[in-house]
């Protein structure tokens, strides 16, 4: 936005409007008014998007870092927050990391367990610890049940209830959970965990999954983007070089899938690709495969790739087409007349001019692909799942914080790509049909 002020040196200060105000000030005021008016038109929508989109995402970010379940318990009946595990936390505060839990620690634990039982918060606290130390939930619930019977010396009494309390990992898990704000869920979401001393280490190899799924999501998205580009190029070229009346007709074949419900298209691919489906039947009928050799094309990676390529292809064709349309055929003809072979003319003259379209299409398809959930969920089977499906899985297990942490990681990858898109192509150039 450039500020249009009067050119210097013309004595703008001395010019006045009809009602006697200095021209510069009047102009400035008029411009400010125009700015305000334009902004007022956008304001209602901005407020709406803030309310329905920005704030919810902010809350998600907050939830990914906030889990107070080890510190306070929200009592449903009274609607109040009751502090829990206060004594153990006091002990943590007084004793640095690595201190062997002593009698005082166990006494604090015993007191807290009694309190948990009183307010029935042992499940909530146990679940919180279970997230970082699997298998420890029942340690809290069962110990709290009998906590009232505990008597000094507490160390022996607590260990008599359950010897798992002696495990340094339990104390470490409690220490790292003793706060409302925690980065633990990001540690988990990056396939790391804390060891007994509190150091962050990689999880056991057979339990690593998220980074691998992120990698797979990006790999499959890249592959799908590439296939889309390869398929979209000839189509866009054809549409761009045909006379308008013909290309408009063929354009309908591109736009119809675009306007058709995602679920309809996914259903169709199930129908086409399943073992007893149309494609397999046709192959058997043609004698290309035997009845026993039916191909598995659905409920695996192939299913995800095929269905997603189909869904995203129009998003590649449309930007390519709009760029190709503007390329003048005379350039290629000129190259040919100067002796270039058709291949050289294509490679050296035509292809470079399509780059903006390719860039736009590739980025858009890739961005949309990394966040896909529906299609992989329905046709992806086990090895065709993407990171979004893992987010949905944790939501369905009510593990909000972990779901939010993984979602935040995905969000940032998408936002970086989006920023890149805006930088390179500009959002204003996004076109739909």
């Amino acid at each position: 936005m450039t500020d249009q002020t009067a050119p210097p040196g013309l004595g703008a200060e001395s010019l006045t409007t009809a009602d006697g105000r200095p021209l510069k000030a009047a102009l400035h005021r008029a411009q400010a008014r125009a700015k305000r008016r334009a902004f007022l038109l956008v304001l209602p929508l901005l407020a709406f998007v803030l309310l329905t989109f920005v704030i919810p995402i902010g809350i998600m970010l907050f939830r990914s870092l906030n889990n107070p379940d080890f510190v306070s318990y929200s009592d449903i009946d009274s609607g109040t927050e009751i502090p829990v595990m206060q004594n153990v936390q006091a002990w943590f505060a007084a004793n640095p990391q690595g201190t062997e839990p002593d009698e005082a620690a166990y006494a604090a634990l015993a007191a807290d367990l009694v309190h948990l039982k009183e307010i029935k918060a042992q499940g909530s606290v146990g679940t919180r610890i279970n997230y970082v130390l699997p298998g420890s939930r029942s340690l809290f619930t069962s110990s709290a049940r009998d906590a009232a019977k505990l008597a000094p010396p507490y160390k022996e009494a607590v260990l008599a209830l359950d010897e798992k309390w002696a495990d340094p990992a339990v104390w470490q898990a409690m220490r790292s959970s003793a706060g409302t704000i925690t980065g633990d869920f990001y540690i988990l979401a990056a396939d790391f965990e804390r060891d007994d001393s509190g150091a962050i280490v990689r999880t056991a190899e057979k339990e690593r999954i998220y980074l691998y799924l992120f990698w797979r999501t990006f790999f499959l998205s890249g592959l799908i983007t590439l296939i889309c580009l390869v398929l979209a190029f000839p189509i866009a070229h054809l549409l761009a070089t045909l006379p308008l009346s013909k290309s408009n007709l063929l354009m309908i074949l591109v736009l119809l899938p675009f306007w058709t419900s995602l679920l309809v298209r996914t259903t169709s691919w199930i129908v086409l690709l399943q073992q007893q489906g149309v494609v397999n039947d046709a192959l058997v009928a043609l004698g290309l495969i035997g009845t026993d050799g039916r191909l598995t094309m659905i409920n695996n990676q192939t299913g995800t790739i095929v269905a997603m390529t189909h869904v995203l292809l129009p998003f590649m064709i449309l930007p390519l087409y709009s760029v190709m349309r503007t390329i003048k055929p005379s350039y290629v003809r000129a190259a040919r007349s100067l002796g270039a072979t058709s291949w050289t003319a294509f490679r050296r003259v035509y292809l470079p001019q399509t780059l903006p379209g390719m860039g736009a299409g590739v980025l858009l398809v890739f961005i949309l692909a990394v966040g896909y959930y529906i299609t992989p969920a329905l046709v992806g089977g086990a090895d065709g799942q993407l990171i979004s499906n893992m987010i949905a899985f944790h939501m369905s297990k009510a593990n909000w914080s972990l779901a939010a942490a993984i979602a935040t990681m995905l969000l940032f990858s998408v936002l970086i790509l989006y920023w890149l898109y805006d930088r390179l192509i500009g959002i204003d150039n996004l076109k739909l049909g």
Binding site: L41, T52, A392
Partner: protein, 317 residues
């Protein structure tokens, strides 16, 4: 696309190969959409062509799956098909109820998205608009951010919309938006807004601001200028934006799965359940109806686009 006369034999071969490749890609694009149509008339509960169907034997075809769309969920599907049977369909049939919900939610979210989106697009298209690029980026982002992420955010927020107020110290008790029509309409409108912005700003590209100034100088007040000068020009963009917004809502599953309650059963949600659990050919009947629906929408949008281009003198009519 005609082959130049100086083309070499190799180029000729390549040219025909190219045509074949294009045809194959078009088949890839269209096959999945067309295949469901004949299969939805299958007399058998299979998802493939039976021998009878391939022989064009009328016995291989039937309307049973369409009939099932009406009867599924009815209180008394076996009753005589009179007025009260149809009343039963209208009130109880699962798919009809889903269709009603989809239309109601789609309608209101379209109205909301189109109204707010058009207003904003008008502002964004003014040369004086401050922070244009940033605001545009924010308004388009619901289309870019994966819906599962937006959905989770909405799930947290809608479960307790007053939580942000509580953090800043204001104690209020307010209702929940999950499981309400209001909540769904808000989320669907938000998802549809980028489409409205894109289509309306596209019609305003190259909009000659002097037109409105001319109207003003001829004595038209802003109201008249808007309705007589600007509106006719942007109307095609507004309508196609509205259609996009409607389709977005009409096809949306993730948000409704996360924040919808039992009452907000829509067509996509019903289809999602159907595909995940028991994919019956009735799903194909729904799919066929939806394909027909999208053909109509596509035709409408194409006509609007051409009209808009003609109005703005972008292409010869």
């Amino acid at each position: 696309m005609a082959l130049p006369i100086y083309a070499s034999p190799l180029e000729r071969i390549w040219h025909y190969a190219y045509i074949v490749i294009c045809v194959l890609i078009f088949i890839f694009l269209m096959a999945p959409i067309l295949i469901v149509i004949p299969l939805s008339f299958n007399a058998e509960p299979y998802f493939t062509f039976t021998d009878k169907m391939l022989a064009f034997d009328p016995a291989g075809y039937s309307m049973r799956w369409y009939d099932r769309l009406l009867t599924f969920g009815m209180a008394a599907p076996e009753a005589a098909r009179d007025g009260s049977w149809w009343a039963d369909v209208w009130a109880n049939a699962t798919w009809i109820r889903a269709a009603k919900n989809s239309i109601i939610i789609g309608f209101w979210s379209t109205v909301l998205a189109t109204f707010l989106g058009t207003l904003a697009a008008l502002g964004l298209s003014r040369p004086e608009m401050p922070w244009r690029r940033t605001i545009m980026a924010i308004l388009i982002s619901p289309m870019i951010v994966p819906i599962i992420i937006t959905g989770i955010g909405m799930f947290f927020f809608y479960s307790n919309p007053c939580a942000p107020l509580e953090w800043v110290g204001i104690e209020v008790q307010c209702g929940r938006l999950t499981g309400t029509y209001t909540g769904i309409v808000m989320s669907h409108a938000m998802l549809g807004i980028p489409f409205v912005i894109i289509t309306v700003t596209a019609t305003l590209v190259g909009f000659d601001q002097s037109l409105s100034r001319a109207a003003a100088s001829l004595g038209a007040n802003p109201r008249t200028t808007f309705f007589r000068v600007i509106m006719p020009l942007i109307l095609p963009g507004v309508i196609s934006g509205a259609l996009f917004a409607f389709v977005t809502s009409f096809d949306e599953v993730v948000a409704i799965l996360l924040i919808g309650g039992p009452e907000q059963q829509t067509i996509p949600r019903q289809m999602w359940n159907g595909i995940r659990e028991q994919i019956s050919p009735a799903i194909l009947a729904v799919a066929t109806i939806l394909v027909t629906f999208s053909v109509c929408l596509l035709v409408a949008v194409e006509l609007l686009r051409r009209r808009s281009e003609r109005l703005r003198g972008l292409s010869p009519s």
